[in-house]
């Protein structure tokens, strides 16, 4: 169970990071669009990835110690 949760956390982050790279490479105009808070998508996504890393770390910590 715990392994699955960790794998899920990992996949969520990989999706967020991977799609950022994909958009930067293939559709950079998306990054110029306005985002909530008055900044652009590039800044919001970048800051979001840093925040998501910390949230992921806290979530990993909150998981049960071990089920093996």
């Amino acid at each position: 169970m715990r392994r699955h949760l960790r794998a899920l956390l990992f996949l969520v982050y990989v999706a967020a990071y991977g799609s950022f790279i994909a958009v930067t490479v293939a559709a950079p105009h998306v990054l110029a669009a306005p985002a909530p808070g008055g900044v652009n998508v590039a800044v919001a996504w970048g800051m979001g990835l840093i925040l998501l890393a910390f949230v992921t770390a806290l979530a990993a910590l909150a998981m049960p110690e071990s089920d093996r």
């Binding site: 990992f10 293939a26 950079p28 110029a32 970048g46 840093i50 890393a53 770390a57 110690e65």
Partner: protein, 579 residues
């Protein structure tokens, strides 16, 4: 990329900086001598007895990780090119997710002192030990070069002494720290450095936000390097109430200021402003010679907050498919490289248990992530603060600090220098551990006793320190941050597929793991040596002649290493031990 090309202008000695710097150095040396008594035996020397608390270890992770390339390089990149520097911040932090969720716990459970220990826990194979030991040495040396180059580049403008003094000073102090007290003192140096770096940068960002933006006329183009430049040339009318705006809604009145801004507002105002970004170019002069001219380019802030302004990432906007692949490959290397760096991996052995390993990673991610958020403000603050030197982007952050007074400059400068010192200590320790534990033990055919191991490691630390100094001289004209990018590529290619196989794949064999390391190491090294960057920046040849289709090898060499590991494991399926 960091523009460390131009030798910093000769300056007088800043005695305040020298004083603060001397006090820091003396403090660290005394601490090391005191802690040296506690670092007895192999477990003390290599792993600080496994008794470091999770919080101290977490901040020490930040100390290990936030090297000169992070602090000076990223701030400088953002100060000149905007968002492109922040891409490194995003990639460097993302790598910690791999460390946290994939590598941290098995490494802590299986290993004792070195990266090879964990890799080889299942196999007990001499081949794996030697391959991992060599890989540790190569990656550590690759990572050492930019740190030493950075130390040399820093010391002249900071303390007004020649380049070689910087290299020798770092080499000597680090060798002393590592040789006397190993992991115990290295950990404390990292903790102090990591903590101070975070606190001072947070203070600096507070001052930047408090100052806000002021409209300044950039003046005409001039001979490079131009100093004391960089500023906002127009602010949005809504940010400067009462000022007269033009038809485009921008206020261009000299001295118009926003006053203090909040963190989100700061980015919003920057985005709506027009900024003088300084660009240098060689231009033919009337007398037939070539001059290097620095020229202010008025660019919309919103443009600078998008990727693709710097020469490195320009291909993202108008380049070929290969240039985009190159970018994706770099981002992959940053993502997978962190969890493959030996000096980061060995820090998992300093904590008492798996839970502490996890807790310290969380503290590390919090500290490092917080720092990377600050880099965007530091860089943009430097870009608009009016104190840039176009000849040395590495100095953007320290020069920004100088605009808030000489005390802050002295403190930031000393911490910048300690940034180099701390990272170099971690690398020398990782390298000396690999020599003493992995290579010498295998060569002798037996593991020497504790005392001998520590003695060998101390000698190896001295040799590595001397080697690092020599490389610092040799490569002093090279660009620090592209060397760091290479180190991540090589580390990820050589170590990550092997680690994942050894930790998670039941059918992996010792031969397969060794094949993955050797293939990844050789392929990524060969690739960077025939890449466009190497041709242009190392050999001084035209980049178009380079053999590699793009500069960052990770996208090709990581899968190659994994394929070699899987193929050899499946083909040579035999009982695990080869001894």
């Amino acid at each position: 990329m960091i523009a460390a090309q131009a030798p910093a202008a000769a300056q007088g000695t800043d005695w305040m900086s020298v004083g603060v710097f001397a006090a820091f150095t003396a403090g660290v040396l005394v601490l090391s001598s005191l802690l040296g008594r506690r670092a007895t035996g192999a477990k003390g020397y290599f792993a600080a007895h496994g008794q470091v608390g999770w919080f101290v270890n977490g901040i020490a992770f930040a100390g290990d990780y936030l090297s000169a390339a992070s602090f000076l390089g990223i701030c400088g990149l953002i100060a000149f090119w905007g968002y492109d520097g922040f891409l490194y911040s995003i990639g460097y932090l993302a790598g910690w997710i791999v460390a946290l969720l994939v590598i941290a716990e098995p490494i802590r459970r299986l290993g004792r002192y070195t990266f090879a220990d964990a890799l080889n826990a299942r196999f007990g194979s001499r081949t794996v030990t030697v391959a991992a030991g060599i890989s540790t040495l190569v990656v550590s040396l690759f990572y050492l070069v930019p740190q030493m180059v950075g130390a040399g580049a820093l010391i002249t403008p900071l303390l007004g002494v020649p380049h070689w003094v910087g290299v020798v000073l770092v080499g000597a102090v680090v060798t002393f720290i590592v040789a006397t007290a190993g992991m115990v003192s290295t950990t404390w140096v990292q903790f102090i450095k990591g903590g101070l770096l975070l606190l001072l940068c947070a203070l600096l960002v507070g001052l930047i936000l408090g100052r806000g933006f002021t409209v300044r006329d950039p003046g005409p183009a001039r001979d490079a390097p131009a100093t004391g430049v960089g500023g906002v040339t127009a602010l949005p009318a809504w940010a400067v109430p009462g000022a007269a705006a033009g038809a485009d809604g921008l206020v261009r009145e000299e001295g118009a200021a926003t006053g203090p801004l909040g963190p989100v507002e700061f980015l919003r105002v920057f985005s709506a402003s027009e900024v003088a970004a300084w660009r240098t170019a060689k231009e033919p002069a009337a007398d037939g010679t070539t001059r290097t001219i620095a020229r202010p380019e008025r660019i919309a802030g919103s443009e600078l907050l998008l990727p693709g302004n710097s020469p490195t990432f320009r291909g993202l906007r108008a380049g070929s498919a290969l240039e985009r692949v190159d970018f994706a490959s770099l981002m992959l290397a940053l993502f997978l490289g962190t969890a493959s760096l030996p000096h980061i991996l060995i820090r998992y052995y300093t904590v008492p248990d798996v839970r502490s390993a996890r807790l310290s990673t969380v503290v590390g991610i919090g500290a490092i992530g917080g720092f990377y958020v600050l880099t965007l403000y530091l860089g943009l603050g430097a870009m608009t603060g009016g104190h840039l030197n176009t000849g040395d982007s590495n100095m953007a952050a320290p020069l920004l600090a100088r605009s808030f007074g000489s005390v802050l400059f002295a403190l930031i400068s000393s911490v910048a220098f300690f940034t180099v010192l701390g990272t170099v200590s971690g690398l020398v320790l990782a390298g000396s551990g690999a020599v003493a534990r992995d290579l010498v033990s295998t060569a002798l055919g037996r593991t020497p006793d504790d005392r001998t191991q520590v003695r060998i490691a101390r000698i190896a630390a001295l040799a590595l320190g001397a080697g690092a100094m020599a490389l610092g001289f040799l490569f002093r004209d090279l660009n620090a941050s592209f060397l760091v990018g290479w180190a991540f590529n090589v580390a990820a290619s050589a170590n990550l597929p092997a680690l994942v196989m050894a930790l998670f794949w039941r059918r992996a064999t010792a031969a397969g793991v060794s094949a993955a390391i050797v293939t990844g190491l050789a392929a990524s090294l060969a690739w960077v040596l025939v890449s466009k960057d190497a041709f242009e920046k190392v050999y001084g040849l035209p980049g178009a002649d380079a053999w590699a289709p793009f500069s960052q090898p990770a996208l090709v060499t990581i899968p190659l290493s994994a394929a070699a590991g899987v193929a050899v494991s499946l083909l040579a399926r035999r009982p695990a031990a080869t001894r």
